[in-house]
Symmetry: C2
Subunit: 201 residues, 2 copies
DNA sequence: CCGAATTTTGAACGACGTTCAATATGAGCG
DNA sequence: CGCTCATATTGAACGTCGTTCAAAATTCGG
């Protein structure tokens, strides 16, 4: 007698599509938080949420898509953290220093998840995801508004924002990969303050 | 009758150990240059040099070791490129700008291989490879000497070098991953000049 | 010319991302 | 209620990967 094998249990009704996507994204974020990009795998992710890998393919997509979703969330969280750092009463200079501080504090508090945003290099032919540019400019626009009183010319200001942004990214990037401590014992936040203050004259 | 299978051809004598390691390293570098980190695999690397994967394990080590060797070579090449950019007759400021220019030119000429240095994140428990710190400080010492006339205090100078170094790294990193062009159309070299000039006052 | 050390190899192992076809479930409708 | 259709869910399979193992071929010192 052939034992009939159970296959496919059908919809559980526990989640609608959006809830399931959020579940997947948060579980992936947790895996990355604990073990970095290397700790994020399709089969492991599926096991963590108690589903088969195929359910993730059905509702979200492949592993690259999952990573993109985690990164989108990370940029949101970063934006929220930076918004809280500017105060309308402070001078533009102090606000700029404060934003830089908040940036590096965010990175230090969640280094692996932050790193994922930059470790993930998209295929060289595919175009850039639209939401990424939006999320990024939404955050840099914040810096732009902070510097507006100091640098009235828009072109000049855009260049300054991009340069400062890249500089902070460099400090954070070298810091999380422990390549900055080789050069100097100062905590990266001190260097960030130095960068912003010197750059703004 | 059982067909006797040939297994193990023994040493070829074509290469001694060092030559073979160099062969592996250069082949790996070539693969990364064309297709990035994703294009570098053990089996593929072995196929390119015409050996079995096990020969690489025997003479070099696992894939992480191969990557480390490529990165060591990259830092050497970067150092050489920067040395050529300083002239004893120029002012420290001009030399600093020139070094920044050479850095970004190097990155632009070989973006995938340069990126490998930073894409590779070593296991969080293992200590930092010694040669990396040496190769890195050897390069930043060059910047240190350039700035010596401008910033006599050694502590202050070390911080300035680390900050500028990280800033350049950030510009280069965002540039190669196409995340800088989202913010501004200026080529990264212009922003690097802006960074150095503003930072040095 | 023989034995020891080293190089080289094919095969195997386990894990991975992804795809496929089958199946169970829930919703809409008569 | 019963029927149908869309879809959520699954186990199994495929191909590839990094890595390991033991066997075989080669070189070299004595």
């Amino acid at each position: 007698m052939a034992k009939t094998v159970r296959r496919g249990t059908g919809p559980r009704g526990d989640h609608n599509r959006e809830e399931f996507q959020a579940l997947v994204t948060k579980a992936a974020e947790g895996l990355v938080r604990l073990e970095g990009l290397r700790g994020l795998g399709m089969r492991r992710l599926a096991a963590v949420i108690g589903y088969a890998p195929n359910s993730i393919y059905n509702a979200v997509g492949d592993l690259d898509t999952v990573v993109l979703r985690v990164n989108a969330r990370t940029l949101e969280r970063l934006h929220d953290a930076l918004v809280g750092a500017v105060s309308p009463d402070a001078t533009p200079r102090d606000n700029a220093v404060s934003v830089a501080d908040a940036y590096l504090a965010f990175v230090q508090a969640d280094p692996q998840v932050w790193s994922l945003v930059f470790e993930h290099s998209l295929a060289p032919d595919s175009a850039f995801p639209e939401w990424y540019g939006e999320a990024l400019t939404r955050t840099t626009d914040l810096v732009d508004r902070v510097l507006a009183p100091m640098i009235p010319d828009a072109d000049e200001r855009r260049q300054a924002v991009a340069t400062l942004w890249a500089g902070l990214h460099g400090l954070a990037s070298l810091s999380t990969s422990r390549k900055l401590a080789v050069l100097t014992p100062e905590p990266p936040r001190d260097l960030a303050r130095l960068l912003v203050r010197r750059f703004l004259g």
